[in-house]
């Protein structure tokens, strides 16, 4: 090889978590082999084995319980809910709460349901995801292959940034955004998500590109490729797997964000999570639990769907994405 990839061990947990995630498919393949080998050896049905299954089934029920309660509550009329039979299946199934949650549930004075929040979240998530991934990819590429002077130090500080509590940064950022007229605006919240997503996105792409053979890059250089040309025509087309992981991480993370949306989005662009909380926790009069649960499901649909569809890809991103919290 003759080339040593210098490891900036700035943030070990992050680096390690994501390299563990990167190895995930390899490990899974190895595991598939070993479990196939295990199956050949017939596993006897012993009490210990029954215990294993009993534990797993009880645990699975505990994990599924809230989902079940949420679903049945959302399709019950209020008369049934008042009976206090939390776990019972609905007698008179109704979809009315879902309709109400979507278009007429009240957040304080306005009664437009949660649909506005849904579209606000879409409007925030799409540009934030694209922008944060674009910048993360360029950063990762420059850090892995070009390594300009000082970039390593910047990267190390950026990695520490992943651990800074948001509270330390929130107020000064409000002031800065207000000074440039971006506070409480869509571009403002997109910028904020890009800033807070940068450590993880940069790390993700840097690790991915660092694992590519350097010879590839050198050959492209010899052929006269410049910075952007190598990036756009050589690296980007090879980046599909890492981009998929990044999209899953960013869409889930930004969709689920509450605090940043609350502070920076402004009343016109409040994301769905903030509106959901407003609907449920600022109601006056009788609380419509069925509508509340329907609204909660509606808010969770996007990340849950992404999770169920993407499966292993989601798991890959999870370790590195978790840093954002």
């Amino acid at each position: 090889m003759g080339y040593v990839v210098k490891q900036e061990n700035a943030v070990i947990a992050v680096a390690e978590a994501s390299s563990a995630a990167a190895n995930d498919s390899g490990v899974a393949a190895a595991n598939a082999l070993s479990s196939a080998a295990g199956r050949r050896r017939k596993l006897a049905w012993t009490p210990a084995r029954a215990g294993v299954y009993a534990f797993l089934i009880v645990a699975a029920l505990f994990f599924l319980l809230p989902l079940y309660v949420m679903l049945v509550t959302s399709v019950k009329p209020m008369e049934e809910i008042r009976l206090g039979t939390l776990f019972a299946l609905p007698v008179n199934l109704t979809l009315e709460p879902w309709v109400q949650a979507w278009q007429s549930a009240c957040t304080g004075l306005e009664c437009d349901g949660i649909r506005g929040g849904f579209w606000n979240s879409v409007a925030i998530v799409v540009p934030s995801t694209i922008l944060s991934i674009a910048i993360g990819a360029v950063n990762g590429y420059a850090l892995s292959f070009w390594r300009p002077r000082g970039a390593g130090v910047l990267f190390a500080i950026l990695m520490m940034g992943a651990f800074i509590p948001v509270q330390v940064m929130v107020y000064p950022l409000v002031r800065v955004l207000a000074a440039v007229d971006l506070f409480s605006s869509l571009p403002g919240i997109v910028l904020i998500h890009t800033i807070f997503g940068m450590p993880v996105m940069t790390l993700l792409f840097r690790n991915y590109y660092a694992a590519l053979p350097m010879e590839l890059f050198k050959a492209a250089r010899i052929d006269g490729g410049g910075f952007w040309r190598i990036f756009l025509q050589l690296m980007l087309p090879m980046s599909t797997p890492v981009i998929v992981v990044a999209v899953i991480m960013q869409v889930t993370g930004i969709w689920n964000d509450f605090l940043l949306g609350l502070v920076f989005a402004g009343s016109e662009h409040l994301p769905m999570t903030v509106q959901l909380n407003n609907i449920i926790n600022t109601t006056t009069g009788e609380r419509l639990y069925n509508v509340n649960m329907a609204a909660t499901i509606l808010t969770s649909v996007v990340p849950l769907a992404l999770y169920f569809i993407s499966g292993r890809w989601f798991v890959r991103g999870i370790a590195s994405g978790a840093v954002k919290g």
């Binding site: 994990f63 950026l158 330390v168 910075f227 169920f308």
Partner: protein
């Protein structure tokens, strides 16, 4: 090799520097700049607007005389210990049991991890409903004949913080499971053969050999969970709004309230610097140890 590096350095195009401008600005302004700004404000007498005077440590002294702050520290300590311990134990057990070559492994993994895809807000709201004292689990227990059953933690001053533990453990222990499972899958099959030949019981191998081998996974999980503890905010706001009263107040919420509700940014800045110092005090040594270990390993 050094030659190649030097040549490459010389060949770094100006475009590479330009491309890193967004990162440089983010690091300098958004991360370092805000941190310095907050540190500066924390030693000023700022209330609604930032002042540029210097009052020494008096905001910090006021902070540690503030009962709400002390309560929120106490809460986050209780919450943090229970949350991290419960997630690590449950996550480890789930991973070990799933690793016993069970049927429907994929389905089980999916079930244990799906809460992690949900927001803290949704998590808090679901559990707020399940633990609702009038119509939730308490009522179900009473209907079942336990007429004296009490499970009204969410409205109980002394117990409210534990409900947040329950909800967030449900949300996050799948993450620990996923991390531990990938650690377990990296362990050599030979270990099991050797243990079987020596007649060591399986649980013994897990406790005495496998668990120490999972060190890196455990410390990764610990750091991730610890960061969640420091940041805990959404789930408290959604579940209890810090109540009843101020019983489930946490530092992150305290700071947000003083920044935006009570307009006392001096005090809030002092509080966030304390929070930052706590994070660094816990995370930095872990890093240091692991960096050294990694260096030796190479």
């Amino acid at each position: 090799m050094t030659n190649a590096v030097i040549k490459k350095r010389a060949g770094v195009s100006i475009a590479a520097y330009i491309a890193l401008i967004p990162m440089a600005l983010t690091v300098l302004l958004a991360y370092l700049g805000t941190m310095l700004w907050t540190a500066r404000v924390s030693v000023s007498s700022s209330r609604t607007f930032p002042n540029s005077d210097f009052v020494g440590a008096s905001q910090y002294i006021r902070l540690f005389n503030n009962e709400r702050w002390l309560l929120s520290l106490q809460n986050v300590a209780v919450y943090g210990v229970l949350f991290i311990a419960a997630c690590l134990i449950i996550g480890f057990l789930l991973a070990v049991f799933i690793d016993q070559k069970v049927m429907a492994e994929g389905a089980l993994r999916t079930i244990f991890l799906y809460p992690y895809a949900m927001s803290f807000v949704a998590t808090g709201l679901i559990w707020q409903w399940i633990l609702n004292p009038e119509l939730g689990i308490q009522e179900v227990l009473r209907k079942l004949g336990f007429t004296e059953a009490r499970f009204d933690w969410i409205v109980d001053q002394d117990m409210a913080i534990y409900t947040i533990v329950i909800a967030t453990v449900w949300q996050a222990s799948g993450l620990v499971m996923a991390l531990m499972l990938s650690g377990l899958r990296g362990i050599d099959e030979e270990l099991w053969k050797a243990a079987r030949i020596d007649g060591i019981p399986r649980w013994r191998v897990y406790v005495s050999i496998v668990l120490p081998m999972l060190g890196p996974s455990v410390s990764t999980a610990f750091v991730l969970l610890f960061v969640m503890v420091v940041k805990v905010f959404d789930s408290v706001v959604a579940m209890t709004q810090g109540g009843p009263g101020t019983a489930s107040e946490v530092p992150a919420k305290f700071i947000m309230d003083y920044l935006f509700g009570r307009a006392n940014i001096g005090l809030a800045s002092a509080a966030s610097i304390v929070l930052l110092a706590t994070v660094l005090a816990i995370v930095a040594p872990l890093y240091y140890v692991r960096t050294r270990r990694a260096d030796k390993g190479m």
